[in-house]
Amino acid sequence: MRPGLGIAVAAGLQTLALVGMIGTQQYTLNQGTPILLETEPIDPRSLFRGDFVILNYAISDVPRSLPGGDQEWERRDPAHVVLEPGEKYWVPVSIHRERPVIDSGHVAIKAEVIYVGVQSRWDNDTREMVSGDPVIHVRYGIETYFVPEGEGRAIERPADGETIDIQAAVDRFGNAAVKAVLVNGKPLYEESLFR
């Protein structure tokens, strides 16, 4: 193969790979089931890294008491969490090692176990972390969101009376992506291909 042709093929393959990255993300956003997720304040002792937001969800802590699913978990285990729509937000139903067959109206979202322990919550009144129920803390790959510099802190730690919700999409393979960041129900940031 002539060197020039080889370079062109290599550049083409790399371009395809990059376009594929964008394409798979857009597929999840466009074809996935939209779900609304409740965020929770993060531990303010964690460092705010540059200009991206660390998001913590109510569904990040999957109660161990949930019936069905698998019970034995270790750090870094892959998992699938089944969610169903609640009154406003989607809530976890069960957690599985293999992708389960799900009922209509449910979604199964891919996750990774971070730790198995006791749930910790930030108490705004006492201004400290408090312990709760035994949980499996997982990560869905939608815990970071890049925002313009200086605007992240307000999202991580909303003011009193403010609610920060995340509208996400989950495709049929279990991949999730953030569609929009909502403040008091109104979109602050919305995802699109070129915006």
């Binding site: 060197p3 370079i7 062109a8 750090r75 969101y145 890049f146 313009p148």
Partner: protein, 464 residues
């Protein structure tokens, strides 16, 4: 500045003067070398300024975009990212199409830049579109992209990047995601090593072998750490010696295979590089095997267990592979009588296999463990001395230096291993320190004498 006419004259006239005997050949060659070096220096200065200027301009452009990144639309960002990468590839292709060697070197630099831009594009696109899943996949994608350039564009710099990034990928999987024995690294490594060997790239082959050794070290270290409660106790620390033993056999097999392949020049210029790195890897494994904490003899003793069937089978398979390769090598050299260093090497290998086999069956509280420790270290030192002698006999300084280096390393480590817990430690430190000072001086003198004795001749292929 040198006058171009003055530089041209000696080049034109000197061959004639040498032929007529007016100027000695050595003097004439020295004059030509000096003249050529100064001419290159004269041409180097404007090139250096041009490179600095290009670097400054490029840095300025990058900083401009970085300063205004958030104001730029996503579409424009993508155009900038893809445009920069394609421009580097196009410029590299153009430079490669020209007949000048200088432009070919520039082409390789541009291909390297394009590969680095590909990696940057992966990270920036992941940031732009908020992709935050299994991040080692991004590193793997970068390595695969570099592999494609190395193969399709015959680029050694791209191969080096692919190996380095691939090793980093494996490291993140091992230490971040507890993939203790990260097998997927090996197919990637084999593909890259094959490209390097086929292309005759000695430097990239060396980097590939370095990557393999680093991966081996990561596997061993992670085996230690993964036995801890923090990692979940997914392995047994008593198995580390079995892992090291298998690595010793694997590197020995690679060494023998390359020596055998060298009989038919199958691996070309890269064969010598692989041979030497494989020997280094085997010696490193041997060095690690004889440590107190590996064999379970130190103050933080763990309960050794006899090896399970899986470990015995793995060791048997690795040993059988080495023996098979040794037989193949002997048949390839059937016309060459085995000389004494080679036969002694066979004997040492047999003893090494016996040592590794014994390790599989010694459990905790077994008094044979101390004998195994002593035998392992004694055998280690015999191997290093054999290397020094065999290297001297063959006139290859590499083996002499390798033997000396590992001999010294083993001596220093054994000193701390053996005398650390004894009372009256200060006397042993003073005595041992004097021994090291005198012994180190004597060793270095002996090494230099051996090297001088080999006459500084060109090293041959160093087959033992």
């Amino acid at each position: 500045m040198w006058d171009r006419v003055f530089l041209r004259k000696p080049r034109q006239e000197l061959p004639t003067w040498i032929e007529r005997g007016w100027v000695p050949r050595e003097g004439g060659e020295a004059i030509l070398d000096e003249v050529t070096a100064r001419a290159n220096l004269a041409r180097f200065t404007p090139v250096a300024f041009a490179m600095l200027g290009a670097l400054a301009l490029g840095t300025g452009v990058i900083l401009f975009f970085a300063a205004n990144w958030q104001e730029i639309s996503r579409l424009l960002k993508l155009l900038v990212l893809f445009g920069a990468m394609w421009t580097a590839y196009a410029a590299g292709a153009y430079a490669l199409s020209r007949p000048t060697a200088t432009l070919h070197r520039l082409a390789q630099a541009l291909l390297l830049l394009a590969v680095l831009l590909f990696g940057a594009n992966i990270m920036l696109i992941a940031q732009m579109y908020h992709m935050d899943r299994h991040y080692p996949n991004a590193i793997l994608l970068w390595s695969l992209g570099a592999l494609a350039v190395a193969f399709l564009a015959r680029s050694q710099p791209a191969a080096v990047v692919a190996i380095a990034i691939g090793t980093l990928w494996s490291g993140t999987e091992i230490f971040e995601y507890k993939q203790v024995l990260h097998w997927p690294f090996l197919p990637l490594w084999f593909a890259l090593a094959a490209i390097c060997v086929r292309s005759g790239w000695r430097f990239a082959t060396g980097v590939a072998m370095t990557g393999l050794i680093i991966w081996s070290l990561m596997v061993v270290f992670s085996w230690f750490w993964s036995s801890s409660a923090w990692w979940g106790g997914i392995t047994d620390v008593a198995e580390v010696s079995y892992v090291i033993g298998i690595f010793l056999l694997v590197y020995a097999a690679i060494f023998i295979a390359v020596v055998a392949a060298d009989e038919t020049d199958l691996l070309g210029r890269a064969g010598l590089v692989i041979e030497r790195f494989a020997a280094f890897g085997a010696l490193l494994a041997f060095y690690g095997f004889g440590r107190r904490f590996v064999l379970g003899l130190d103050q933080y003793n763990f309960d050794r267990v006899q090896a399970s069937g899986g470990w015995i089978l793995a060791t048997v398979i690795a040993t059988a592979a080495v023996i098979g390769l040794l037989v193949w090598l002997r048949r390839a050299r059937r016309d060459v009588a085995a000389h004494r260093p080679e036969m002694f090497g066979w004997a040492l290998f047999a003893l090494t296999v016996a040592m590794l086999a014994a390790n599989l069956f010694i459990g905790a509280e077994d008094p044979s463990l101390v004998w195994l420790f002593l035998a392992a270290n004694l055998l280690y030192f015999i191997v290093t001395v054999w290397l020094i002698y065999a290297g001297y006999r063959r006139g290859d300084g590499f083996w002499v230096n390798l033997g000396f280096a590992f001999f010294a390393a083993g001596l220093v480590t054994l000193y701390f291993d053996a005398f650390w817990t004894l009372t009256g430690r200060s006397y042993f430190f003073m005595g041992g320190g004097l021994l090291l000072l005198v012994g180190g001086y004597a060793l270095e003198r002996q090494r230099r004498r051996l090297m001088r004795g080999m006459g500084g001749a060109e090293h041959d292929r160093g087959t033992l």
